[in-house]
Symmetry: C2
Subunit: 311 residues, 2 copies
Amino acid sequence: MAKQNKDVTRRNSKGQTLETFLKSYDPDRYPKPSVTTDIVVFTIQNKEVGNRRMRNQKELQVLLVKRRDHPYIGQWALPGGFLEMNEGLLESAKRELQEETNVQDVYLEQLYTFGEALDRDPRMRVISVAYMALIGKGKQRIVASDDAEDAKWFSIKRKENWRRLDETSDRFEVQRLEKSTTYELISDDGEMIAFELLKKIERRGATQEKEITSLSEEGLAFDHHEILDYALERIASKAEYTPIVFNLMPERFTLSDLQQVYEVILNQPLYAANFRRKIAHMVEETGSYEENTQRRPARYYKYKFNWNSWE
Amino acid sequence: MAKQNKDVTRRNSKGQTLETFLKSYDPDRYPKPSVTTDIVVFTIQNKEVGNRRMRNQKELQVLLVKRRDHPYIGQWALPGGFLEMNEGLLESAKRELQEETNVQDVYLEQLYTFGEALDRDPRMRVISVAYMALIGKGKQRIVASDDAEDAKWFSIKRKENWRRLDETSDRFEVQRLEKSTTYELISDDGEMIAFELLKKIERRGATQEKEITSLSEEGLAFDHHEILDYALERIASKAEYTPIVFNLMPERFTLSDLQQVYEVILNQPLYAANFRRKIAHMVEETGSYEENTQRRPARYYKYKFNWNSWE
DNA sequence: AGAATAGTGTCTGTTAGACAGTATCGC
DNA sequence: GCGATACTGTCTAACAGACACTATTCT
């Protein structure tokens, strides 16, 4: 598909045509950074609740992998790995997911490319292209393999804390915000990873600059806490104007289920009546109902395609 | 800032500590792709209109650079170049912009990373991290240098054409859209670059896939037409919910000026009354008025910081 | 009847869109 | 007064937020 300069006879300042230029070009003249893809895989977990009469709770989970080798040996990290020369970026993300965790056929979206700090990886300079994946739980069986000693789902609990450093005032041109987020990642079998992120946002005129630091020594390998945080922001904002959330849902679901999922993603409670009105155009009744509940059974819905859902 | 595994004595399967592991690690064991940053620089041009009584027209312009060497020698491309080992990604974008075009101190934002096609660059495998820059025209003097034979502003004219391949229907799970966009880039001195992009959007359930192809042999170097198109989408969508547009404005401006800028970015006309209400909270009167107009002079406004503009 | 959730109705205030109408300058 | 743009008022329909209320199941 590569479009070439039609004028193949044109010569450069050294008198070379394209062909002779390419033959003499040394692709390794300059040192290169390594490129990796890292994937933030989210799913929804249904947490049983003691009282059988009450509805199950939902939790947002992220898939982590325990590192088998240095650096950060034994620590939890996002699945991912080095880009190979014969694959596209997206393809690489898919492959890494498959190799390390056995996850396949999922919604996958490029997030952001991380490569500011020169020492993100102690081995060498690394640029990471981050992806986000969404899957319905139970659809896939997670299997740790390859560089991963283990692979597990961790439930995400987070609390945000805003602080305004400059009070609003027409006199100041620069305004600062600080947001600290405490994270607790807890696996199904009780292992916990806790850390705290500090986000400094500085607004000068119409420009905004962010700086993220980790306040904890513990936590995820590399700067993966930052990537996770970015992914959480992205899914929350996309949930508001696209049907992206349905990638986390099973075929059939109740509106209460769906609402709970929106609530864990947006990290805030919603009014049922308003929620139902808002998503009405994206769902469709199936005709069937919940069974064996010890309260009024809810209707099952399914996703309904709609041109207006996307923009 | 690199956070290390605290347990420096821990050994991997080969019995190595972190220190001995790093010493024996060969960063060049695997071949690496090259990494570049490419920058889409936008500005607004005030186009004089014959009739002195009428208001000037605005045009959205992009900064292009004429390639001095193979590949795509003599063709127009986005400014950009290879990432160096001692600089962050953002830093690299800034440096390339400075070196090739003399542009400095601008709003800069990471867009997306392009690296699907293996032959994007005929020399070797290249991953491009694309940035978008916004500057007010006249603030900077453009100077071509380095790998660039020339550097010029091109006004962007585009026409979009939507086509729905499947009519809406509850029976189909897959829905397809095609959008073809014809571009005409015209420099201040009359040079024109024309091309047409075809975007195929396929929606399956809650998933959307895009595929972009160029319908023209001519056009920009590499896949830079695709990057430009992406940048235009981004600035339009961000214009709707952030004050990003003010990065293109001079210190003082009239609301008609501002409206025209929004119109070229959104590529559609706006109602003045509605527009004024919408942006009212982001601007502030300066007290001064236009002078020497041959019609009613407009008030000058300036950007006003507001916490609510950003989210 | 009571516990628990499913699901609906409605009031209020805000906003988007469309358009008509008034204001003000230079000539 | 005319040409041209600056700026304002207002109607309507849609929507977001908050909350009260009804419905249905099992025990």
